[in-house]
């Protein structure tokens, strides 16, 4: 789920931080710049792991603050394809199931990656809502009906396999009513043994 990435960045150290030791000040700046931000192809930055080198310290003419070239390693959240992750069900609709990890919310399971066959049927208890139901059919050919397993408990832990990660490019314009832009989207699948809500397999 996590991996280290080595990056080099040139940053300007604001004068009000010069009272701290150089390493603390640089770390503070790096955290402000990278923490909780998505870097394309690298993933979501979780933490600054360590600082390998700090060079420079030159003050450019006309500027009041020193500029440093820093090499550091960041802990990135970047699941690999085929990884198994447990996440909580946040929301669902007819286009997808949305799962959340607490620190990362844009995990989406599209209908074609749900266990086959699954249906989006009206909830017998609550007429207004529809929910996803997996029809588990036994191998016996004579049996036409199978048992139904519903995926509808918000907050239940679901085990899924990472299918792909995409970094959609930032849209130039967005209508005001649409969902906030997700810079990193993880697509998952629960179409396999052992995947899906943990309550199915215990």
């Amino acid at each position: 789920m996590f991996s280290l990435s080595l990056i080099e960045h040139t940053l300007r150290l604001p004068p009000h931080l010069l009272g701290l030791s150089l390493e603390k000040a640089v770390r503070h700046e790096l955290e402000g710049l990278f923490l909780d931000k998505v870097i394309a192809k690298l993933g979501l930055c979780v933490s600054v792991y360590d600082i390998r080198s700090i060079n420079g310290g030159f003050i450019f003419p006309g500027d009041g603050a020193p500029t440093y070239t820093v090499r550091c390693r960041l802990i990135m959240f970047r699941p690999f394809v085929g990884e198994i992750i447990d996440a909580k069900l946040k929301d669902y609709d007819e286009n997808s199931l949305r799962l959340s990890l607490g620190f990362f919310d844009d995990i989406c399971i599209p209908p074609h990656l749900l266990p086959t066959p699954s249906h989006f049927w009206p909830d017998p208890e609550n007429r207004n809502r529809r929910r996803w139901v997996w029809e588990y059919q036994t191998d016996d050919e004579n049996q036409t009906s199978g048992s139904m397993f519903a995926i509808d408990e918000i907050g239940a832990t679901i085990r899924f396999k990472v299918q792909s990660i995409s970094y959609p490019s930032i849209p130039l314009e967005q209508p005001n009513s649409s969902k906030p832009f997700a810079p990193m989207v993880v697509t998952g699948s629960i179409d396999n043994d052992g995947l899906g809500p943990l309550s199915w397999w215990e």
Partner: protein
């Protein structure tokens, strides 16, 4: 910003949790780490990584070498800690061809022995302790049939 090395090494959940703990994150007080780091800590503390130590993980990596699993599969197993064979089938690709049912069961048992269970287990332990205290109350014989005759 320049990317020197995009992938400098994968990290297990345990290593990230260990790092956050060393920076001062804990369940009671969480002042020294940023809020986004604390959210990661909260997530990790509920997975199987919360009880693991470096010895457990290195021990497990040694023992699993005999099964010829891919690095990604070993990583998955350490992160998820499947105690049952069904979990092994999920993680290992082509499990039937490469491992077979017996080996998968062996592997699941080895996982349960080598890696500690996540925090959800304490209820079972309490029930065991309760059984022991009940068993200790052995009924004492009321009278000795060989008692001395009056």
């Amino acid at each position: 910003m320049k990317i020197i090395k995009a992938n400098d090494g994968p990290l297990t959940n345990f290593e990230v949790l260990d790092y956050l703990r060393s920076r001062g994150a804990s369940k009671e007080v969480a002042v020294t780490v940023a809020p986004s780091e604390y959210k990661v800590f909260e997530y990790l503390v509920e997975t199987a990584a919360c009880n693991q130590t470096r010895e457990h993980v290195t021990d497990f990596v040694q023992k699993v070498k005999t099964y010829n699993l891919a690095k990604a599969e070993v990583l998955n197993i350490i992160n998820i800690r499947p105690p049952l064979p069904v979990g092994i089938f999920t993680i290992v690709e082509n499990c039937d061809a490469r491992l077979g049912e017996a080996a998968a069961e062996e592997l699941a048992e080895m996982v349960s022995e080598t890696l500690p269970p996540p925090l959800a287990q304490p209820e079972i332990q309490d029930a065991d302790q309760l059984d022991e205290t009940i068993a200790d109350g052995n009924p004492q014989p009321i009278a000795d049939s060989d008692g001395e005759a009056a």
